[in-house]
């Protein structure tokens, strides 16, 4: 990628329970905001990341539907689907398309998910359909249940306590409080988490993302074209996707996310950066333990030590490695197929200096990780300010 692709526009809707609005309504609003932000260029393609609209909303083929709704004449429309990694995977595919069509018009990317058309238990069931139906789904485990097993193994092996780990959820909520599009924009305490209901022992309700609807969109263009459209475009230095062993119990060590490790390694190599040169990180921590594992896979902490960065507050805004600067899955919300594009929109806000109270001072480079489940596929993007040359 080497910074040849840049983001010329970004927009999103507030994550939440949008009872009165459809997936199409949400996607259209996010896309119109992103297009407006880019000066309303003519686009030649639209990529839509979505996890489960047929099951949630009884509506498929969202990319064509969206192209039609936005009156985009004669565009290519592509839907990209990989569970809750759909958003970042759509972004990746759109990046490749920009590179393949040098000299042509920009491309629109939108991640969207409308979950609240079904009740929470049905959402819990549908989310498990992104796992192996023969084994994981069959067992009756849920995503919080998988995280519970990881948490138990992690605490036993590395000596962390649940209080140590959930400091990440506290961090995320603190950041969400300053994020206008967050689903849960208020701080919470460790005590509140430990007093919330058990979802899957030892995981508590306030350590899990809620179910919410959302859409986030970006306009991508060749770097020079993006610069013509927008005074401060954001470069995409790297976009890497790696699939891994789907069942975490089949991994050599269950307490690893090999797809993240490899995707991050490739992305940082492509960007020509060491992980410690990155100014902020948007992680896919489905629960706190996954954040601890991610810090280890990224190389910010040794194996078994990720929880210490969390419990010592070294991931806070203003500290060593700011994580989930706009609230992450926990605070901003986790509308599955939209999460990856929310991360990209948030990176744009940080790198343009538009993150308000949550601004990472002097942020030049940000990294986002979006995955399906516990890492059946990982997408890692590295974003940079326009002035940063790859």
């Amino acid at each position: 990628m080497r910074g040849q692709v840049a983001i010329a526009g970004a927009g999103c809707v507030k994550v939440g329970e949008h009872w009165e609005r459809s997936a199409l309504d949400l996607a259209a609003e996010a896309c119109l905001k992103a297009l407006e932000d880019a000066g309303n260029p003519r686009v030649r393609a639209v990529y839509v990341g979505n996890a489960a609209s047929e099951l949630l909303n009884e509506q498929g083929n969202l990319a064509s539907l969206l192209a039609d709704a936005l009156a985009l004449e004669s565009v290519k429309a592509v839907e990209v689907r990989a569970g809750d990694a759909s958003g970042a995977l759509a972004l990746h595919q759109a990046c490749l398309d920009v590179l393949a069509g040098v000299g042509r018009e920009p491309i629109l990317v939108c991640g969207v998910e409308k979950i609240t058309d079904v009740l929470a238990p049905e959402a819990e069931r549908i989310q498990m359909l992104f796992e192996d139906a023969r084994s994981t789904f069959h067992s009756g485990v849920t995503i919080p249940g998988l995280c519970a097993l990881l948490t138990r193994l992690y605490m036993e092996r590395y000596g962390a306590s649940y209080e140590d780990l959930v400091a990440l959820a506290v961090n995320d909520h603190k950041n969400a409080a300053g994020c206008p599009h967050a689903q849960f924009p208020f701080p919470i305490t460790v005590e509140a988490i430990l007093n919330s209901p058990l979802v899957a022992d030892p995981i508590r309700l306030l350590d899990t993302p809620g179910f919410g609807d959302g859409a986030a969109a970006l306009v991508l263009a060749e770097a020079d074209e993006a610069r013509r459209l927008n005074d401060s475009p954001v470069r995409i230095l790297a976009s890497e996707v790696v699939a891994g062993r789907m069942n975490f119990c089949e991994r050599e060590d269950p307490l690893t996310i090999p797809s993240l490790r490899e995707a991050a390694k490739r992305a940082l190599a492509a960007a020509g950066l060491g992980v410690k040169e990155v100014d902020f990180f948007e992680l896919h921590n489905t629960t706190s333990v996954v954040g601890a594992l991610a810090l280890e896979e990224l190389g910010l902490a040794e194996r078994g030590e990720g929880w210490k960065l969390i419990s010592e507050g070294r991931i806070a805004l203003g500290a060593d490695w700011p994580v989930n600067t706009m609230g992450g899955l926990k605070g901003r919300g986790h509308p599955w197929g939209a999460t990856g594009t929310y991360q990209a929109v948030e990176a744009v806000l940080q790198l343009r200096g538009e993150a308000g109270k949550n601004q990472v001072n002097g942020a030049e480079v940000g990294l986002a990780h979006n995955m399906c489940g516990l890492g059946s596929v990982s997408c890692v993007h590295v974003f940079a300010r326009w002035e940063v040359k790859a």
Binding site: P121, E124, T136, S139, G140, V141, A148, L149, A200, C249
Partner: protein, 138 residues
């Protein structure tokens, strides 16, 4: 669940049929067409061991819609005697009796019903291993 799928999956869900690599001998569950360890495509179906030990467990209190009648229920990570790790529910005991290392055995149980007219799905779950000799007799 459709009837054809239900029938197709019986060997894997009733008898824990997995794959064994004929080249390097590694055993997998669920089945695989290619061995990730050695790359061999020469795989055969094998019945996995029905006994194992508990590695970790959780109690599912917020269940998927099709399992709400069963909650709370225990899901565990089990290491079978042939080294394969599987996710499975544990039945016939209280969560308080569970601890890592506990010996378990497979048992055939009802998994879920698909509405009043649909198939009733059965499959493996695990329970604490039944001891044939009284404690301390060996």
């Amino acid at each position: 669940m459709s009837v054809p799928r239900f029938w197709r999956e019986i060997p894997y869900k009733y008898r824990l049929v997995g794959s064994k690599c004929r080249f390097c001998g590694t055993v997998y569950h669920p089945r695989r067409p290619v061995c990730p360890k050695c790359g061999s495509r020469d795989m055969e179906d094998v019945e996995l061991s029905k006994r194992g030990r508990l590695l970790a467990f959780t109690v599912i209190r917020r269940a998927p819609s099709d399992l709400e009648d069963y909650k709370p229920y225990v899901v565990s990570l089990v290491e079978l005697e042939d080294g394969v790790k599987v996710l499975a529910q544990i039945v016939d005991c209280e969560p308080g009796e569970l601890r890592p290392g506990l010996e378990l055995e497979a048992t055939l149980r009802r998994i879920r019903a698909h509405g009043p007219a649909g198939v009733i799905e059965y499959g493996y779950k695990f329970r604490p291993a039944v001891r044939l000799e009284p404690e301390g007799s060996s």
